[in-house]
Amino acid sequence: MKSRRDFMKTAATGAVLLGTQSKLGMTELLDQHKSKVVVARDPALHNAGAQLNDKRVIDLLDRAIAAYTGRDKPVEAWKRIVPVGKVIGLKVNGASGKGISTHFALVMAVCERLQQAGVKAGEILVWDRNARDLESCGLTINADPSRIRVYGSDVAGFEDQAESWGVAQIRLSKILSRECAMVIGLPILKDHIWCGATFAMKNMYGAISRPQDLHAGGCNPGVADLNCIPAIRENARFTIGDAMTSIYEGSPEFHPEHLWYPNALIVGEDRVALDYTAWQMIDRRRAEAGMPTLEAAGRLPRYIATAADAIHKLGTNDPRRIHLMEI
């Protein structure tokens, strides 16, 4: 098995660049009235010892992307998703420490496919709040532009100029505001003691200087308002949600007693629909464990409905308008 360093080196130097004509065309593929969300599962993703099978992760990713784009060949599928010749940011989530962070294997799988679709290694920037969060994902900091870059906002810094939308008065990470033409969110599915569930939209708390300012009221309307900041609304266009491992109670602190293995990736563009789907998954798991729903526990993720309302218009939380593909 390759070491992480070997893998990064191979990924950085062994890319097959396949062209420059890729474009974002997801909306062309979608039913005009529905948001597509793909939940791809592999029950054998973890072995009996709870070890993740890296090879199966990239296979699962390929299945999820193929289902989403309607293209069987991963390279063709990825060309539909990412622009070539631009910097693509992968916003991981390591805030809860190494016990429940975006999996390294998923990050590497996405990097491999991006490069095969024509994105140069140096045009991929894996980022989060800081070095500690990135290291929690098993990543090693690297600012060398000839390879896949990995660093946080602690290195890039934040904009001096604050931006505001509703209650969100924030300073954006320069990684988001200046470096990335497109951000692919790679959040990890978690319960959250204040806002119920954290996934696609709340992942953007890691893109601002003072996330703690947006926790009031169960992060509502903080999450929705933050995602309306133009740079986030426009750049965070695609999400490959890591639901291979999850926490259904007590998070964001790592509580291994409430760890569970959905063995899934949740993929889509509509972050509201993604969060709605993620919330339903957590509630189903809580029911299986004999626990009250998030609403009964007083932690209904209200920000999801707020994000879908006529003011925010970030997506839909109406299950009738979500085209859910479970594969």
Partner: protein
């Protein structure tokens, strides 16, 4: 002559009492983390990081509020490894009072097993949480092995002895 000798003793006693009282007023900063090898099988593998309450979100964003509400003063954290394999993180939250430590401990331990450690303690298969005075300690392992519960308990005792 006798009078002068007694005065010397009185002065000496006053100096000693004053010095003792002086040090007693200040809470001695303790390093709660056992050194490598101090607890059998455990090596300290990380640096100790200390967060003041106002900076706690940098470490546990989203969870910081519950500790701040309970009066956390500082949080110290470091990593350990057991027999070169099992990784664990130890967090020591120093609260402003024992009540603060009790308040956090009583939250979210409904399905945990009570154990004898410090002033009160609970264990899960991969974690232990206990309080002692104004300190609240949480130890979490990142893997469940047959050795994990006993190894965590030994490390927890090592920390508890240093508080």
């Amino acid at each position: 002559m006798k009078f002068r000798s007694n005065w010397k003793w009185v002065v000496a006693v006053i100096v000693i009492v004053a010095a003792t009282a002086g040090t007693g007023c200040k809470k001695k900063a303790v390093d709660p983390f056992p050194a490598s090898g101090a607890v059998a099988g455990w090596d300290k593998t990380g640096d100790t990081r200390v967060f003041a309450a106002k900076d706690l979100y940098q470490y546990i964003d989203g969870d910081a509020e519950q500790y701040i509400a309970a009066g956390v003063v500082t949080t110290s954290t470091t990593d350990y490894k057991y027999k070169g394999q099992l990784e664990a993180t130890v967090d020591v939250h120093t609260m402003s009072s024992a009540d603060g430590a009790r308040k956090v401990l009583e939250t979210g331990t409904k399905d945990a097993k009570p154990i004898q450690l410090g002033d009160a303690a609970f264990a899960y298969a991969q974690s232990i949480i206990f309080r002692k005075g104004s300190s609240l300690v949480r130890i979490v392992a990142y893997e469940s092995t047959p050795d994990t519960p006993q190894a965590l308990l030994a490390l927890a005792r090592g920390v508890e002895a240093k508080l």
